[in-house]
Symmetry: C2
Subunit: 296 residues, 2 copies
């Protein structure tokens, strides 16, 4: 093992004079779990944090030779942030970041020669949700102006979904946080897909507008995010030609059509369903049809 010499039965690095844990010397290759795509995933926490770079290099070299012989298709290294100095060591073998969050990152190396990289990439979309909140008694809509936006449009309250949050729940949460108005999810009215949007870190964006039933009416707007908030008559908002963005105008058109001909012409209905993956459930959004309408 280059750079290491025995001293009182322990290993010491000749370059940095750090004592190595005996266990680190006993490893000859990294151990990992294989998956059904014939990939192997290694949690780097299995080695000592103080392992010398050169020794990690040798461990990884041996492991890659072994995996190559076993015809492994992809190698994955889960690296805790405090082990970050092993990242450039792995990069020298061709590893790249797959993704990272908080206190760890995942590196990936596609090992099949001549074959296209078949591993799934990390999440491609952020998700925004806004609530179209309509009160029938005054035929008015809840609208806000963003404090930090460079555009001075009236818009529907909303914001980004948290990880693991259903879009209807995002709408309830964001409308309440921004305006103080409590609401109930009714349906999805529209979905927008946009790429290269500012503030999305190079990822794409889905934006859902949900139809929400108000459960309270008093406004208590978030002064940090919102510069103005009010219930505005839907006709008045629709006729103010420059104060709304094209997507808001489109939703107002849809809503006016729904008010005239019935919202069953507009709505995407939501149902909670059981996944084929044991214990998981999902929300399915689509148009109502007679069998479904009857069974509700």
């Amino acid at each position: 093992m280059p750079g290491l010499t025995a001293l009182w039965g322990r290993a010491i690095c000749q370059r940095c004079w750090k004592l190595q844990r005996p266990s680190a010397r006993l490893l000859t290759s990294l151990t990992g779990e294989t998956d059904r795509f014939n990939g192997v995933t290694v949690d780097v926490e299995q080695v000592s944090e103080s392992l010398h770079d050169k020794e990690f290099h040798n461990l990884l070299k041996n492991s890659l030779q072994k995996w190559k012989a076993e015809e492994i298709s992809a190698a994955w290294l889960k690296i805790p942030i405090q082990y970050g100095r092993f990242i450039p060591v792995a990069a020298k073998f061709g590893f790249q970041f797959h993704h990272a969050e908080q206190n760890s990152c995942l590196l990936k190396l596609w090992m099949k020669e001549g074959g296209e990289d078949k591993t799934p990439r990390f999440a491609t979309h952020q998700v925004g949700v806004a609530g179209f909140v309509f009160r029938e008694d005054t035929q008015s809509v809840l609208v806000v102006k963003d404090r930090k936006s460079k555009f001075s449009y009236w818009k529907f309250a909303g914001g980004l979904s948290d990880l693991g949050e259903d879009i209807g729940d995002t709408a309830v949460r964001e409308v309440f946080e921004e305006t103080g108005v409590r609401t109930k999810f009714q349906s999805v009215m529209t979905v927008r897909q946009q790429h290269n949007q500012p503030g999305a870190f190079g990822r794409s964006d889905f934006f859902f507008v949900c139809r929400m039933k108000p459960l309270s009416y008093d406004i208590n707007a978030c002064s940090e995010e919102i510069s103005a908030c009010q219930w505005m008559n839907i006709q008045e908002l629709h006729e103010g030609s420059k104060s709304v963005a094209p997507i808001t105008r489109r939703i107002l058109n849809l809503a006016l059509y729904g008010l005239k001909e019935g919202f069953h012409n507009v709505d995407l209905y939501a149902e909670d369903m059981e996944s084929i993956y044991r214990g998981l459930r999902y929300k399915l959004y689509h148009r109502p049809y007679p069998h479904i309408a009857e069974s509700k």
Copy 2:
């Protein structure tokens, strides 16, 4: 500067005896760009890759003191993979991974004391798309069986969206890659949102099913991904009680309703629109209404 001593006018580290580039010693703090949320983003490539950890520690310490005095709300470090050994140094100041991909990562430190972290998180969703491809002459649907799935269901061809790809384009691409059949996007039939799905790296999942018009009929299935592929009569598929997942059955119900009463009862219409962000466009999906139907 602890651990460094002058030698022939250059700096040398007493621990690893590496020569430091003179330029690295001249920096007293990192320079970055501020954004409209009062955050600062630093590209770490501005320092030498061979800068000693201890010196990077001091640079970062000075920078954080300066930013604190300037009431900066969040500090971001863009770190190239070959500079990975600076990651644990930054982690000691509380930096965490925000995200990483390929050859660089972004670390983040929320600096406002007592305030909730207001920075947007990285992408939360992967996106899958399948194509419901129906040929009218034989009243049949294009279905496949996945080679690598543990479930032996007939399903519609599809797969994950690439970054920056519209859902309709994903459907065209995936149907062709898996079956060899060329198609044209017509409408969105349904959207599913699911969390904790296997293979999504802890992210959530959107799954869109698009109605596709076949432009060719001959099947040339991808033998690596698909174990079976055929045109199957829609009634026959609908009546096979165990060979499809609940979501597939639901789509068949929707499609049979559409065949009987018209697909205008089922479809979400797609329109290409101009974004408020200069030069950007987006796709908006919603129900058709008379004004829109007329202008098409």
